[in-house]
Amino acid sequence: MNQSKNNLKRFYALFFLAALSLAGGLSYYASSSPDGLEKVAEDEGFLESAEDSAVSNSPLADYGLVGLDNERLSVGIAGVVGVLATAVIALALFALIKKRS
């Protein structure tokens, strides 16, 4: 019983580390081409209708830390911050949902 509990903890730790290394490390190698919607918008001439989001001057806008020239570090930091923010919010949300049940 105890061992299965430890295994569960280890699994969750590995799952989290996988996400952290994908967002913090591998993301640097992601394709920088426009995604499907952006490409279609460009081809069909409605890309110009896009407006800046109200948070477009966020220090992490477009997955880079503002003012940091090292591209690898910049996207890596953005990825790590995103992983941590998502973890805090999502884990808290599901802990609350569990509590109510």
Partner: protein
């Protein structure tokens, strides 16, 4: 496939925002049946994993990339209601911290990716589980097919929003065909990532895979 502000007019964005809110409230009520002490962290970490993989754009055709949407992956791992909430958290973080996807467009994105993609994935997955052999090895395939279908369907939900309140001048038919063909290709990537992830987790902790361990769901949907 995150819609920025401006592509779709405000009334249409507000209307889909209302639908998205309704979907999210239902998910909040029903997710209780899907998470317990053991699986609540799984639901949270699934959101984290999807955030991470969404950063990994893969090339699909000349000058075009795609990334995981994650509706099918999350649905198979944690169940449809928890999946919907997990994707909504991801979309919220992306819109607020990274300006990825607009703020007035958040309802449009939640509708397409947290509601439609998850719903379609759920229906296709259930159908596949029914049709395929009742074996553990069939689960990744069922998940992959659900993932593949969910992408062009979500892309078509965008086209619907464009048809109702698009600010562009391109004809709806042209946008429909362009969105569909591009996202059929992206759907292949979605299917591959979903199959690999579901296989890996099934192999190590099949008890944490909702689509395999919660068989009563498939009975529920049959009746």
């Amino acid at each position: 496939m995150h819609i920025p502000d401006g592509f779709i007019d405000i009334p249409t964005s507000a209307a889909f925002g209302t639908l998205a809110l309704a979907g999210t409230s239902i998910a909040l009520k029903k997710a209780k049946s899907e998470v317990d002490d053991r699986t609540a962290p799984m639901a949270g970490l699934t959101a984290v994993f999807i955030f991470a993989v969404q950063m990994l754009n893969f090339p699909v055709a000349a000058g075009t990339s795609g990334h995981l949407l994650g509706g099918a992956l999350a649905m198979v791992l944690v169940g449809p209601y928890a999946a919907s909430l997990a994707i909504t958290v991801v979309l919220g973080v992306q819109a607020l911290l990274f300006a990825d996807g607009g703020l007035t467009a958040l309802g449009l994105n939640v509708f397409n990716l947290s509601v439609i993609a998850v719903l379609v994935s759920f229906l296709v997955f259930k159908l596949m589980v029914k049709l395929l052999p009742k074996a553990k090895s069939a689960i990744p395939l069922a998940a992959g097919i659900a993932a593949f279908v969910s992408v062009p369907v979500s892309a078509s939900a965008f086209t619907l929003q464009y048809a109702i309140g698009g600010n562009g001048t391109a004809p709806v038919e042209t946008v429909f065909i362009a969105m569909l063909t591009t996202h059929l290709l992206i759907g292949i990537g979605e299917a591959v990532i979903t199959m690999l992830t579901v296989s890996a987790i099934l192999a190590s902790r099949s008890d944490l895979v909702f689509g395999w361990s919660r068989k009563e769901v498939s009975l529920e949907i049959r009746s």
